[in-house]
Amino acid sequence: MIPFEFEYIKPNTLEEAVTLYERLDSEGKEPVYISGGTEIITLGRLNVLYTGAVIDLKSIPECHVMTRENDRLVLGGCCPLTEVENANPFPLLTSASKEVADHTARTKITLGGNICANIFYREAVLPFLLAESTVTIMGPDGKKTLPINDLFDQTLQLNKGEFLVHITTDISSTKAPFFHMKRRKQWTTGYPLITVSGMKKDGDIRIAISGLCPFPFRSERIESCINDRFNSVEERVSSALQQLPGPILNDTEGSDQFRIFTLKNILSDLVKTLEGVDH
């Protein structure tokens, strides 16, 4: 039960959404965009999140695309994760997506919602960070397209009134060899203890991690340690572990020490898996 009241509006165009946002904002309604809408329900219920107006992006065609244009894959922010998995245009994304929440919840959770989530794992962003995709944003200043790695710093850095329309990825990256591992506190249900995505592109290994810090990230410093082929796998992994950003999570899913221990093993598996393969 959400204890507060809000208006619910479902615009049909990008422009309409922005106009609505500005108006509702000026009325002091603290509007939010939603795609899957699960967070406003689950966090609203706990009074962690408040809004007086919900703008549902699901009816905007651009937000719901799943197409291949020339050599690019375009995925709308409002695509439910299960739809992306079934179509399977980007196998690493499918692997990452299938580990988020559970199957039924993923019929509601969307790509855009997961990437822009308040719940900080945002596991579906990992493949896009590795593929160096571009994101298309709509906002009061109109539409713009930027590299995701410029815009994503812990969260997608959106200005007020902006929202994610879709994400574009080179087909070549969607076909690159990859590695994905989600390890949980116990067995096969729940949030990550550690999730690691890897991709081999242009001869180098790329790595992005969720569940280690209160945000997902891709780190050049970790990658350069890992790609230092003069050293043994063990040495590369242990020097990568020196380059971790902070803070390391120490919470109900596990301690910081155990996360690092687990990460160490996963990283060496990742290197061993991807080292051998050629693109």
């Binding site: 039960m1 204890p3 390890r183 506190k185 116990q186 067995w187 096969t188 109900t252 155990f258 093993n265």
Partner: protein, 773 residues
């Protein structure tokens, strides 16, 4: 026999698969008001102020209850204010209650109430609770009103102390050539019934109190409300429809009190309370934590000689059922072994944690984790197969229990046979530890179990049967249908006695304390014994009446008559007889005279020969019989990552007699699943301020589909003579050895002794690496 042992489909099956089955919160809300609790975010503190100004302004708010002093509540010690007064003693405790027109308004208003608290130092484990300079959770427990037989220690956190003194410890230790001493512990956790608790209360102008509640103990709700609030007990009417899982958690009386207070605050209008999951986990009673110490000794050839045990039950902030739980820890303080010399101190210790309700197995899975892990450690020190050690020491008829009850063939199941069978089913001989590759091993762990109940001597059960015009029957029993299919089993028992089809017996599912005969509580796996005996007595009563009428009509002696297939007939010539339809509403002679009348069968049962425990030695007969079993868990463990999968879980249980095969199987595998969850993943994560960090199913995760192992279950049938058809309890036993067997398999696999639950990859890693846990 036609019905017994058959997998009769439960009576309410079709309702349950079509969404028609009604649980407490499914009844239309109509004119109801809605209650919502404001709960504490602190583990321990003094309430400075509660500001309700903003909340009061919300349109639709009808009442806000705070701070006022209501009578203290609690089952054996009256130590709990229903709404916190002056002091907060656990995270999740109710500090205020809002009653409003809609659930949304109630919740909104509740979130506007500002509670200012001065935090106090917390007691964060029972061991801390008994340490010398522990803060006191209650200033003086001895000053509270309490029931007979409760032994608190004044001005400490000890709410109850139970002693077991059997044999002569000095001689026991003298004969012990091998001795181990170990400490075990686990934090509190929760039952997680899928239906969260809900209750409604209404107070009528004539003082009648109408309660509907998702409870395992509607008759207790009636009794306790009457005691707590000095109400005339006959004016309290409690209804319980189907219950969406209980596992012991719904045997405590808590939310009903809030609904009653809510209704009292709004001139008796109906008030509904529905727990959100978070409240159901921490505000309502949970599953106890435990700190334990074991010293165990045996001869060099593996015969147990002596054991000394200390159990510190995490009683949480209020003692409620913890007193009884700690008593049960003492009663069956060891595994199912014969040990001549036993010394056990079991304490219920106040902490600043949520307080416990019974949990499936009533302290036994908890004690077994401790004792059965100790058995494996002892076996390792002896260099003996842990199965052999158990077999050698298995308790048998003629032996005495920790409370000095001498066992016979009926009062205890067959432990050696369970061990032999599980040995075979688990392929124990192939080896306990098998290396699959350089990283992965397969390991088996064993645990033996037993359980008696410790329910009060005066507990009784009643049953009524009535007839329909066509000779079919209606059965009414106070057993609540919480999922165990006990009501269906009772119908099978009745059908068996009447030699008729179980399909011709209709069962009343809802319990209504005004019209259903009492069944003390639907707990302790005693529904079949007590409810079943009451049904059999009711059957005899009805049969006697039927035969009386028939004997008059047929002009024969009653003892020449038999019944079957809805007829009463002459034993010698079954064709000679009367249909029930012509008898059960009176027999009318052709000329018009009628005799007899409506036949109503009534029966009851009360446990016999149960005694209170001697306060100094613990000697006494706690319950009717010990059900026993042997269980094995097999894991595949990754020695590099410390991750594991549970491959197989095996139970061999002596259930006396299987009454409904698939029903029994489901009870056992369900209990095993719950036990594996408790052993492998489930616990509250509690921070240093005694706050529970994971009161949600997102972060507190019971076993999910796909995480379940292959289950293998076999039943042994050593009858319990007093019970209908010899049946022993079956609802809890499957759980009892799971945490221990899992712990034993993982200790072997990881090559390190594990002492704490839950058995997470991280905790195994920490133990192996020598890090603090």
């Amino acid at each position: 026999m036609t019905n017994i042992g058959k997998s009769v489909i439960r009576k309410e099956a079709l309702d349950k698969v079509t969404g028609r089955a009604k649980y407490t919160a499914d009844f239309p809300s109509g004119e109801m008001l809605h209650g919502k609790s404001v709960i504490s975010h602190y583990g321990h503190g003094t309430i400075k102020s509660i500001d309700v100004m903003e909340a009061k302004k919300e349109p639709g708010v009808r009442a806000i209850i705070t701070g006022k002093q209501y009578p203290l509540t609690g089952e054996e010690i009256r130590d709990r204010p229903p709404i916190a007064f002056e002091k907060i003693r656990f995270h999740g405790e109710v500090v205020a209650l809002v009653v409003a027109d809609t659930p949304a308004i109630a919740k909104r208003a509740a979130s506007l109430i500002n509670v200012v608290v001065d935090p106090l130092p917390v007691v964060n484990s029972p061991s801390e609770g008994v340490s010398k300079d522990a803060p006191l959770v209650h200033d003086n427990v001895a000053e509270y009103e309490r029931e007979e037989g409760v032994h608190p220690v004044p001005k400490t956190n000890i709410a109850n102390h139970t002693k077991i003194r059997k044999g002569d410890m000095a001689s026991g230790w003298a004969k012990s050539e091998i001795v181990i001493e170990e400490n075990f512990s686990f934090p509190p956790s929760d039952h997680i019934p899928m239906e969260t608790r809900s209750a409604t209360a209404e107070i009528r102008p004539d003082g009648k109190v109408l309660i509907t509640t998702s409870s395992q103990a509607p008759f207790m709700v009636k009794e306790l409300l009457s005691q707590y609030f000095d109400l005339e007990v006959g004016k309290i009417i409690v209804k319980t429809p189907l219950v969406g899982g209980g596992y012991g958690g719904k045997a405590s009386v808590q939310q009903e009190i809030l609904a009653y207070l809510g209704s009292l605050a709004v001139e008796g209008r109906t008030v509904r309370m529905i727990n959100e999951r978070e409240e159901d986990m921490i505000t309502s009673p949970c599953h106890m934590g435990l700190d334990a110490k074991v010293k165990l000794g045996c001869t060099a050839d593996g015969y147990l000689q002596a054991t000394e045990l200390t159990y510190l039950v995490d009683s949480g902030a209020y003692s409620d059922k913890a007193i009884h739980l700690s008593r049960a820890c003492a009663v069956d303080c060891t595994g199912p072994y014969f040990i001549e010399n036993i010394w056990c101190d079991s304490y219920a210790v106040y902490t600043n944690h949520p307080y416990p309700a019974p949990y499936r197995g009533f302290s036994h899975a908890e004690v077994h984790f401790v004792f059965e892990r100790a058995m494996d450690i002892l076996a390792r020190k002896l260099n003996m197969d842990p199965l052999e050690l158990r077999y050698k020491n298995a308790i048998k008829p003629g032996h005495t229990t920790p409370t000095q009850v001498k066992l016979n063939r009926s009062t205890v199941g067959d432990v050696p046979m369970c061990i032999e069978k599980v040995k075979q089913l688990s392929r124990w001989e192939e080896g306990q530890l098998i290396e699959l590759n350089e990283r992965t091993v397969r390991a088996k762990g064993l645990a033996c179990v037993w359980k008696n109940s410790t329910i009060p001597p005066e507990s009784s059960s009643g049953a009524i049967i009535t007839f329909n015009e066509d000779g079919t029957m209606n059965l009414m029993s106070g057993v609540v249908e919480i999922g165990t299919a006990t009501k269906t089993v009772l119908a099978q028992i009745l059908a068996e006695r009447f030699r008729m089809s179980v399909n011709d017996i209709y069962v009343k599912m809802t319990v209504d304390t005004q019209s259903t005969p009492e069944h003390w509580k639907t707990v302790a796996s005693r529904g079949t014994l007590m409810g079943g005996r009451a049904v059999l007595a009711a059957a005899e009563d009805a049969i006697r009446q039927i035969k009386e009428v028939a004997s008059c009509v047929m002009k024969v002696r009653t003892d020449d008559l038999e019944i079957g297939n809805r007829r009463v007939f002459l034993r010698e010539d079954p064709k000679e007889g009367l249909d029930f339809r012509d008898v059960v509403y009176g027999y009318t002679f052709p000329e018009g005279n009628a005799i007899g009348g409506q036949i109503i069968g009534r029966g009851n049962y009360i446990l016999r020969n149960i005694t209170y425990l001697d306060p100094e030695t613990g000697a006494g007969n706690p319950g009717p019989e010990w059900a026993v079993g042997a269980q094995v868990v097999e894991v595949e463990f990754d020695r590099r990552d410390y991750t594991y999968k549970i491959i197989k879980a095996i139970s061999v249980l002596d259930v006396g007699r299987v009454l409904n095969y698939k029903g029994a199987l489901g009870q056992v595998t369900g209990a095993m699943s719950m036990g594996l969850g408790f052993g492998g993943r489930e616990s509250f994560v509690i921070d240093d301020k005694a706050r529970v960090l994971n009161p949600q199913l997102r972060t507190y995760r019971p076993v999910h589909f796909g995480e379940h192992p292959e289950y293998i279950v076999e039943f042994i049938e050593t009858p319990h003579i007093d019970s209908p058809f010899g049946a022993r309890g079956v609802g809890e036993q499957g759980l009892l050895g799971m945490p221990a067997a899992l712990g034993n398999s993982l200790s072997l696999a990881a090559g390190v002794e594990l002492h704490h639950l839950p058995l997470l990859p991280e905790s195994i890693w920490r133990k192996k690496e020598g890090l603090n846990t």
